[in-house]
């Protein structure tokens, strides 16, 4: 039987001609990632193992983004631990706050041209699965796995079975990758792809931008998937030509395609015209509804940003909708560009002025409110529409607060309307 894209990347990095679902393999890693929450315990474990140096200082990425700029003394200590380690180990991909390369891990690793097609990546962050959008294999692990991977540059995997998602048609106006992935999670449930990979294909891919693909792969974990992957096409090509011209021009990346006879545990066909503007109501990402059916839900806050929807296209879409409008008097609207580069672009493009005129808060890049860290924590009884990835109990603050997940157009429209709404109402 043939192999899926995921299985081919795993086989290549394990140095074997073939793998099949269920095989246990050891594989070489191209990049290893940790953040200010997960890297400090990993650094401690690596030292306890007696390992002095990371396997490759160019291939270990240590990104401060969760509680930065530091929200309290303890989080400052976490970042200090990571910063000292990064200096001692001469880590290339450690960026100080405010610098042009800095930002949210899953936004900057692709946008800075670090991850390329065919790469094999693990990260001590569950949304590491984002990079599948580039035709790479990437998945989340914990701090102990990160420690061992920083030390050795290899780790073990169980080869996943796959769910094939065939896309046709094209999105209706304002519908994005976020609506599609929420739609899929609603269909199959939060454990619908447990231990499996999601493999996308079909002519509908043409309707999904790179930003949309990153969003889709980012949230694959929310249906339990190990990873998600898009095939390489002209969109991927254009993206990497821009993000890493050097490796692009020397063809220093690898394109994998699924075999005709690859095996899949399940096949799902979706016509993109049927995907509505979708929200996930509290307190589980599979609790999806059409946004238009939730118009009676009043809100207190909107968050536009995160590793899911803080990309250039997302911030641009928010600016387009909010231009000339005012945020509803009962709502705080927090805009968080995913990286300093996006922040600068937004400044030069006049988007920040649009947000400011509309009455939004504009934040430095941070994960912040997504995980109830800082920069927009909710009080009991408050409700937020967020372009983030999780709406679990207490995720953004008090256990009596609520998070409704949506794409950028619904979030921006809701900020103006003071309730869940859609851009066509504006």
């Amino acid at each position: 039987m043939g192999m899926t894209i995921t299985q081919k990347i795993l086989a290549e990095h394990a140095g074997v001609p073939e793998v099949k679902a269920g095989d246990l393999i050891e594989a070489k890693l191209d990049y290893v990632l940790g953040n200010d929450v997960t890297a400090p315990p990993a650094i401690k474990i690596m030292k306890q193992l007696g390992v002095e140096r990371v396997f490759d200082k160019e291939r270990v990425c240590l990104i401060q983004d969760h509680f930065t700029p530091n929200k309290d003394i303890k989080s400052a200590e976490l970042c200090k631990t990571m910063r000292c380690f990064a200096r001692e180990q001469e880590i290339s991909h450690f960026y100080e706050l405010g610098r042009r390369e800095m930002g949210i891990e899953h936004v900057i690793l692709p946008d800075n041209g670090i991850i390329l097609p065919g790469d094999m990546v693990i990260g001590a962050d569950s949304h590491t699965c984002t990079y599948g959008a580039l035709g790479a294999f990437s998945t989340g692990v914990g701090s102990t796995d990160l420690a061992c991977a920083m030390a050795r540059g290899i780790t073990w995997f169980k080869v996943p079975d796959a769910i094939r998602i065939i896309l046709k048609g094209s999105f209706k106006k304002f519908v994005t990758g976020k609506d599609l992935i929420l739609h899929i999670i609603g269909m199959i449930g939060v454990d619908g792809a447990l231990y499996k990979s999601l493999e996308f294909e079909g002519e509908g891919l043409k309707s999904i931008s790179m930003a949309g693909r990153f969003t889709i792969c980012n949230m694959a974990i929310e249906c339990g998937a190990k990873n998600a992957v898009f095939p390489f096409d002209e969109y991927t090509l254009r993206y990497i030509a821009k993000t890493n011209p050097k490796r692009f021009s020397s063809s220093d990346y690898k394109i994998y395609t699924a075999d005709e006879d690859a095996g899949y545990a399940q096949t799902i066909e979706i016509d993109l015209c049927d995907v509505p503007l979708t929200v996930a109501l509290p307190s589980i990402p599979s609790n999806t509804k059409k946004a238009e059916d939730c118009r009676d839900l009043k809100i207190d806050q909107v968050v536009i940003g995160s590793c899911t929807n803080g990309r250039l296209e997302d911030i641009g879409a928010a600016a387009e909708i909010l231009k000339g409008l005012k945020v509803h008097e009962d709502v705080r609207c927090i805009i968080i560009p995913g990286s300093q580069k996006i922040y600068r672009y937004a400044l030069e493009a006049g988007w920040l002025q649009i947000f400011d005129d509309a009455g939004c808060v504009i934040s430095t890049p941070t994960c912040g409110p997504c995980l109830g860290g800082h920069m927009g924590v909710l009080a009991k009884g408050e409700r937020c529409v967020a372009t983030t990835n999780r709406n679990f109990v207490g995720r953004m603050g008090d256990t009596g607060s609520e998070v409704i997940l949506s794409g950028v157009p619904v979030a921006a429209a809701s900020a103006v309307l003071g309730r869940v709404g859609t851009p066509d109402e504006l």
Partner: protein
């Protein structure tokens, strides 16, 4: 290895945000984490849990964030074993790595009630409900996984292996 304890029972899709809320992730110290374990889903857990007790849950236990702080918090609280119908994959791997025993057993996950006294044998995979006088069979882990758990996690296991 055999463990015995009273059961704490939870439902499906218990996520790592309720196991240990992110507002406490500014420290990875087990003594700090255990004080807030399960706080957002069961405020009494910390007061009621005893050394060796057992946690029982439904499908997809540990879904969400990759924070290893979640199994660390459960282990530090005194829990000796988590039985679930299924586990989210990152959590599953993290449990083994930090030496928190887990068993996948849909039958036990349904049959066990809060407060039941449970005795579990990791080598045979047999879970005994002493209170209800029932037995459930789970698939035991291979020896090397049981070895990692018995040694308290991958770190101690690896240290031991490299000393040999």
């Amino acid at each position: 290895m055999i463990v015995t304890g009273k059961a704490f029972k939870y439902g499906d899709n218990v996520d790592t945000d309720v196991i240990i809320p992110a507002r406490y992730l500014n420290s990875a110290d087990p003594e700090h984490l255990k004080q807030h374990c399960m706080e957002d889903i069961d405020a009494d857990f910390v007061k009621e849990v005893g050394q060796g007790d057992i946690m029982v849950a439904g499908k997809n236990f540990g879904c969400g964030s990759s924070r290893e702080h979640a199994p660390v918090a459960i282990k530090a609280s005194g829990i000796s074993l988590v039985i679930a119908e299924s586990f989210a994959r990152i959590f599953f791997r993290n449990c083994i790595n930090v030496g928190l025993a887990i068993m996948e057993c849909p039958e036990a996950a349904v049959a066990i009630s809060k407060g039941d006294i449970i005795k579990a044998d990791f080598d045979t995979g047999i879970i005994e409900n002493v209170t209800k006088n029932e037995k459930y069979q789970s698939k035991p882990f291979p020896d090397f996984i049981n070895g990692i758990i018995a040694n308290g996690g991958l770190l101690e296991y690896t240290k031991k292996q490299t000393q040999i």
